[in-house]
């Protein structure tokens, strides 16, 4: 069952994730053909409501909506918008909804912002990243990319490396991967691995070299300098030496193992500059798949009946 709002990957069981990925697969062929436009969501309006900087997620959602013929409004909460005059999230959302928006794609620095928004509006809400909580569409496109390469997610050995504590990408990915039966190991500096992670169903290690040999996927998280308050590790150079994927570590991976990264990459920190360009690094493939996966979600969430059951103010 596809939920009315997509706020967390927890809302999706194995059947729902499989449905989204299968639909994305059908749509991937459209994104590869000369005429990329489909008429499916004509007359629907999607608003990207972004309270944080973003390149790929916003562009990806915009492209996905446009390829399905929806109208797209991009709202960036910055000095040019009324947010700078003190307008609240609620009033901004109501204002946009009064203009007839069918879906709100929300990115916000506060955890839970998307969930809060979904209680105020009738439009469908899609969480495009809320604080350090979740980024479900990133997880879905990562699951899709892995499934396309390996055929299945069940039993896949995925190592996620880096700042687990501040990473919404890690949280959504772990839960999505565990739902699909993958075997997930989290690796990072002890200061950046929160104590409760084992309740997510993942293993924890503090030694990257000990877990690399066996991995099918080495998933590197970005060092989020903007979210790190007190330094969690002494220097970026030390981080790179202990947790970065350099040439030597990349050479130890299994021949068909993939290197993945949600972007934007910090070359020379979590990933060595030349490792990011190896054929096994499928970072741009993830980006391309992101459009198909978001098309799939928009179609499944907006392609149904006009009036969602319940909801509203």
């Amino acid at each position: 069952m596809i939920p009315q709002h997509l706020l967390s990957i927890d809302q999706l069981d194995e059947t729902a994730i499989t449905r989204i990925l299968d639909t994305a697969r059908g749509l991937r062929s459209v994104t590869d053909r000369p005429l990329k436009k489909l008429p499916t969501l004509r007359g629907r309006t999607v608003c990207n409501l972004f309270y944080e900087p973003s390149t790929r997620t916003r562009v990806s959602f915009e492209l996905a909506a446009k390829r399905l013929s929806a109208d797209v409004i991009n709202f960036q909460a910055d000095a040019r918008s009324s947010v700078s005059k003190g307008e609240s999230l609620k009033d901004t959302a109501w204002t946009l909804e009064a203009m007839g928006v069918d879906a709100l794609v929300v990115r916000h620095p506060s955890s839970g912002a998307a969930a809060q928004l979904s209680r105020w509006v009738r439009a469908r809400v899609i969480n495009a990243g809320d604080g350090r909580h979740e980024h479900p569409t990133q997880a879905l496109l990562d699951l899709f990319s892995m499934r396309e390469r390996f055929g299945t997610l069940a039993g896949l050995k995925v190592v996620i490396v880096g700042d687990i504590a501040h990473s919404r990408v890690a949280r959504s990915n772990v839960k999505g991967l565990v739902t699909m039966g993958a075997d997930v190991t989290l690796v990072g500096p002890p200061t950046l691995v929160p104590p409760q992670v084992e309740s997510w169903g993942a293993k924890v290690s503090y030694d990257l070299d000990a877990v690399l040999d066996d991995a099918d996927v080495c998933y590197l998280l970005r060092v989020q300098r903007e979210r790190l308050g007190a330094p969690a590790f002494p220097t970026l150079r030390e981080y790179a030496a202990l947790w970065g994927l350099d040439r030597a570590r990349a050479a130890r991976l299994k021949p068909d193992a993939l290197v993945m990264h949600p972007g934007p990459i910090n070359r020379g920190v979590e990933i060595a500059a030349d490792v990011a360009d190896l054929p096994r690094a499928v970072i741009l493939e993830q980006v391309a798949n992101g459009v198909a996966v978001r098309m799939s979600l928009l179609y499944l969430m907006l392609g149904g009946a006009e009036e969602p059951p319940g909801g509203g103010r």
Partner: protein
């Protein structure tokens, strides 16, 4: 794509119309085609397609998902058996082009496969049931986004009448007079494990 909702063997779960009761489970009233009837009808259609085209030059068969796709492959095999030529076959998923997106739940998608360039080819659309004509209208849009065929023709296993658009089939396996309250289901071995055409009632969401 008439007559196939809730097919137990369907590869992809179908969306249900929100809030509209589906009239209970499908109840079979009559079997109107048996495997031999289906085979004979498809062989005849294969001959008619080649006769009308004066050979197989430029022919492409495009099956409409779900059950038109295996039927198109059978037509290809039939043509190969008497002409010795493998006509290219593709499959079209028209879900994203339907005019009832937004009136009913979204449908699962299957891959659209195109056997090379369709420009200037004679494309024969193949479907199991012709009913309202709306599936075929959607197929026109889907097809024209893929190329510009010289001509488009339509082959269906069953024409059950009740058109809502000015569309007719060029090749028909069986004309089947029905009431709109009835449901026609085509079952094909590749998907459902058997070949049959059934008339029944309930679980109805025929769209074709």
């Amino acid at each position: 794509m008439g007559g196939e909702p809730l097919g137990t063997g369907s590869a992809v779960p179908r969306g249900r119309r929100r809030g509209v009761p589906d009239g209970g489970p499908f109840r079979v009233k009559a079997r109107v085609m048996e495997p031999d009837d289906m085979r004979r009808a498809l062989v005849r259609i294969a001959h008619e397609i080649v006769e009308r085209n004066k050979g197989t030059d430029g022919l492409v068969l495009m099956g409409i998902r779900t059950r038109g796709a295996p039927l198109a492959q059978r037509l290809r095999d039939a043509i190969a058996s008497f002409e010795g030529v493998q006509v290219p076959v593709g499959a079209l998923d028209v879900s994203l082009y339907r005019d009832d997106v937004g009136l009913r739940g979204p449908r699962g998608l299957e891959a659209t496969t195109v056997p090379g360039n369709l420009d200037a080819r004679i494309v024969v659309l193949v479907d199991d049931v012709l009913y309202t004509g709306r599936t075929i209208r959607a197929a026109f849009d889907a097809l024209l986004d893929l190329g510009r065929p010289r001509a488009v023709r339509l082959a269906v296993l069953v024409d059950r009448g009740h058109r809502e658009l000015p569309i007719r089939a060029d090749f028909v396996g069986k004309n089947l007079p029905t009431a709109t309250s009835e449901v026609v289901r085509v079952r094909v071995a590749e998907i459902d494990g058997e070949d049959a055409v059934l008339i029944g009632e309930g679980a109805g969401e025929a769209t074709g």
